[in-house]
Amino acid sequence: MSSQAWINLAYLAASMLFIVAFKLMTGPRTAVKGNYLGAAGMAIALIAACCEGPVVERLRAVGSGGLVTVGIAAAIGSAIGAAMALKYPMTGMPQMVALLNGFGGAASALVAGAELWNMTAAAKSDAPAVAQLAATNLAPWTQFAIATALTGLIGAVTFWGSFVAFAKLEELPRFKQAWTNPNRHWINLGLAVVTLLLIWGLCVYPRSVLLYWLLVIVGSVLGCTLTMPIGGADMPVVICLLNSYSGLAAAAAGFVIDNSVLVIAGSLVGASGLILTAIMCKAMNRSLVGVLFGGLGTTTAANADDVYAGKVKSASAEEIAMVLEGASRVVIVPGYGLAVAQAQHAVRELANALEKRGTTVEYAIHPVAGRMPGHMNVLLAEADIPYEKLREMDDINPTFPETDVVIVIGANDVVNPAARTDPKSPIAGMPILDVDKARTVVVVKRSLSPGFAGIPNPLFAADNTLMYFADGKKAILELTAALQKS
């Protein structure tokens, strides 16, 4: 067997390991093993890459210098990656994932750029065989040209889109506000037209390195302008979509350098991102196009004063503790506010205090609660809350009528009954947690300010709702103290 055959076999093994890794991700107990297998697959693929013909030939021709440089670059990257991954707090996971994602996209765009550069250089070679092969690849409308163009575009969009998403999630001052320039659709349309022209140009003139980098620049701008208008609560969709893009960029790079492990791993990631995107959109009852280009319409929202007028009841920690004392079943609904307040450990304390009294405590997790898919699960898991108690929306919704107390912490739109009752509401039809059906609802919130959708929440004015106006963490700590005193 030729050495290339062995390398391809290693790539095949790596691809299989990736598929098994995804398969093991379906259970919390097997997922750790899945992650190890994924890493093992990656290690095999990377070693195989070092044995590729061009690398080895170069090694023979000029010694080990080249491979050592690559090794140093890899070590630098690995050290930065490990440091970031170990240092970042769990509440910052969405940003962290966005950032890592962007690096992957940028790497793909650079690989395609480097390959195009090498290929055009080879076409000018004095050796007829080399020039001939390069010329075949660089003929108009070949796979090489199309894939190179797509890699550059998707890679650039991924990198800059991820960067903007990171900046928004980190709440950097410049990016905090969604970009709502009324002309943004025209700007995006214009950029899209330029992008298509450049792709077409690169397919007709594949030797034009300039066109490629122009495409990367336009893709970079497009990545920014597409992500900047998207608001905080839609971030889960953006994160999933960018994740999908980074996979597709890698797959496209696989077409450029004719490498099947890139194509397989890239398309697995692409598929995974697309599925999560679809799940997130469904959980918000919105179309992907609506999330990307729409922004929420607020024209038909009910007036806040009419909804709340004189009906909002505020309660003290002692009063709420008294209600909790008599409860046999309590459900906690976490939202992004919980992550902001870093209240996950306080919540665990409260749950412990309740459980000591014989109360059943469970957690209702809305699919889009937080800023990335499954965000709340990770946060509560960090506070050692067993995952059996974290229940999904469809699973827990029927149990609310038998629930004594629901405690909503930092969630708003996902518990807004207007989604169910008011067909004119901007969030009409969005699946929500039916907390209003519980006997008593305690809402921990800093003020009556609206959530991301910018609409008032009739839940806050309901007869069975008690508002507790305070910072999430402080409120929960006070509740726990009051409960332990009584």
């Binding site: 992650n35 990257g77 250089a121």
Partner: protein, 113 residues
């Protein structure tokens, strides 16, 4: 750049396969892998969506393979430079992704103290 150094760059292209055939071959792999991805990932429960996102994110760093080949071949100076930069970025993605996923998954499992 002497021609002899450019030959290895094209060594794997030298197989007698016209571009169209190669495209169809890769497209087959792409579509089948997408299909497998859809089948496997629809079964991941909601609570594991964050580790799934970060884990798949790590795997998208597979582009490091391409970066190593391009950088290691050192066919042109500028190409190698881009390749090396790609190696750094892709390895941040790979290592960061796997480590962060591991950190998250550890929290899902009861502590073995």
């Amino acid at each position: 750049m002497s021609p002899s150094l450019l030959i290895p760059l094209l060594a794997d292209v030298a197989v007698a396969e016209d571009p169209a055939t190669r495209f169809i071959r890769l497209l087959t792999v792409f579509l089948l892998a997408m299909w497998v991805g859809f089948e496997v990932i629809t079964k991941v429960p909601q609570r594991l969506h964050t580790p799934l996102t970060s884990g798949s994110n790590a795997i998208s760093g597979i582009t490091a393979v391409g970066a190593i080949v391009v950088a290691g071949a050192m066919a042109t100076r500028f190409g190698s430079l881009l390749g090396l930069l790609a190696v750094v970025l892709a390895m941040i993605n790979v290592v960061g992704g796997f480590v962060v996923t591991h950190r998250m998954l550890e929290m899902f499992n009861p502590k073995k103290k």
